[in-house]
């Protein structure tokens, strides 16, 4: 055990893991984060807290992660390479560990072009593979990135990374995934999966290559709230590709929200059957209410007081 957290235990015990995503607000309200955490409580092993997703300024992911944990929900603290150099990253890692954060998810981060400060300078001092390795070395070797020894308590995180499993070409995604796992990623959360056939190919090839032997993969699911949201994601969210037939299905339904939940439940159901899938990661940003329904309707047994 590294962090000794719920997510780590669930993954170690091969329990079907469920994580969900919480987007912090574009203001200073901790209560809005806490309200979302309360919605998820009992349904997820841990909740991701995004780090200025889409490069829009939001309440700090570390602060939001603390609000989430104050509600009894374990946080997966997200950190991107876009806004911090290695000095800030390591400082934040020590700070987060000192405050009881168990899980860190290392991401490259969306380019600032997609957010509300496109004129900003970007950092990308490290990339996500290098970040994963840095976090692992801090924890396992007790060394800062520069090689200096960390004297005293070490930051003991469960280390996560992300992958876009259905992006092309698959071979390239697999090469990159292999690097992340080799660097120290213990769990992977994927971008939203809509194309199951392609996802299965990805999982089969990952298994054949032995990439996931020491790493657990949680497949991403994005519940669609409306056909408009689906089209918006296709146009504006990098890395998300929703097939036309899914968009059409949303358009043609009388109750789009219900249809969105139905598609998500079907997807979760199908993903559970894919060999190698250790859990699902539900990304219902700004629609957190959908998570308890999807979890229940997909037949994942209630998580009790988790």
């Amino acid at each position: 055990m590294n962090s000794g957290g719920r997510l780590e235990k669930a993954l170690a015990e091969r329990e079907f893991a469920v994580t969900a995503e919480i987007g912090p607000p574009r203001n200073a309200s901790g209560e809005s984060v806490r309200a979302k955490a309360r919605l998820l409580k009992g349904f997820v092993h841990a909740a991701n807290v995004t780090d200025c997703q889409s490069a829009v300024v939001r309440l700090a992911s570390l602060a939001a992660a603390l609000h989430v944990q104050a509600e009894g929900v374990e946080a997966v603290w997200q950190m991107t390479c876009r806004d911090r150099n290695r000095i800030a990253m390591q400082s934040d890692l020590l700070g987060a560990a000192s405050l009881g954060i168990k899980n860190v998810l290392c991401l490259t981060g969306d380019h600032q072009k997609f957010g509300n400060h496109p004129a900003a300078k970007n950092v990308f001092d490290l990339d996500s593979v290098q970040m994963v390795e840095m976090v692992r070395r801090m924890r396992d070797d007790g060394r800062f990135h520069c090689g200096d020894e960390i004297k005293g308590p070490l930051p003991r995180f469960l280390i996560g990374a992300v992958e876009n499993a259905t992006a092309e070409p698959t071979v390239l995604r697999l090469l990159r995934l292999r690097k992340k796992v080799a660097a120290g990623a213990q769990f992977i959360q994927t971008q939203g999966v809509f194309d199951l056939a392609r996802f299965e190919v990805f999982m089969r090839e990952a298994a054949d290559a032995g990439i996931l032997e020491n790493c657990r993969l949680l497949a991403g699911v994005i519940p669609l709230k409306s056909a408009r949201a689906a089209r918006f994601m296709n146009e504006r969210v990098p890395g998300v590709r929703i097939p036309d037939e899914v968009v059409r299905r949303m358009e043609q339904s009388r109750d789009q929200e219900e249809e969105g939940i139905r598609i998500a439940v079907e997807t979760v159901d199908a993903l559970r059957r894919v060999p190698g899938v250790a859990g699902v990661h539900l990304m219902a940003v700004a629609w957190e209410e959908a998570v308890p329904r999807i979890v229940s309707e997909a037949g994942i047994k209630p998580l009790g007081d988790r």
């Binding site: 380019h111 600032q112 072009k113 496109p118 004129a119 900003a120 300078k121 970007n122």
Partner: protein, 223 residues
Amino acid sequence: MIVAEAKPLEELLACLEESRRALIVSCSGCTAVCLTGGAAQATSLASRLKIAKRINGSDLDVETAFLLRQCEPELLPAIADRCARADVLISLACGVGVQQLAEAYPDKWVIPALNTTFAGSYAGEGVWEERCGLCGNCVLHLTGGVCPVTRCAKGLLNGPCGGPADGRCEVDPEVPCAWILIYERLQAQGRLELFTQVRPAKDWRSARDGGLRRFSREGMSRE
């Protein structure tokens, strides 16, 4: 001009372990001016590689090709025969030239023999110094002709940090504080109001941060 410095020979030799026939391609542009990438350096590098390989007990056949400018795609086909004979191409151009060479001969492994370091100019005999950060949004008219983006280690836009001592940068006491130079120049010109105006945050979209930069001059396309 673009300034580039030689990579350690060891780094090049490590790339040449399997190689039998190398072609060194020089550039008579910027890297020749800073004495790292011209014809003379190509001849010298050829000797150094041959000597080092021979001492290691293996032979390397090294040819040299002299190009007027390696960043000019039109000039590259001239060395096609020699490139074809070589199993590896060693470029003495800046990163731009290296990429043009690689693009012209995509099946060849192209090894940069130089590290491209900065856009700068002559600063005394045998010395070159950085002058432009290629940020795409010039402020030199506001800063007395001294670039704070490159010559201030922090790239500050509103005057010096608290670090300089005796007019020197805290990062390198050999280097004058850019903002003290700016202040002195503006003061001498009687334009200190330019210093006192608060400069807003820079729009970095025009710099590398905004993604690949590309410039097209209207009226030059044949399409």
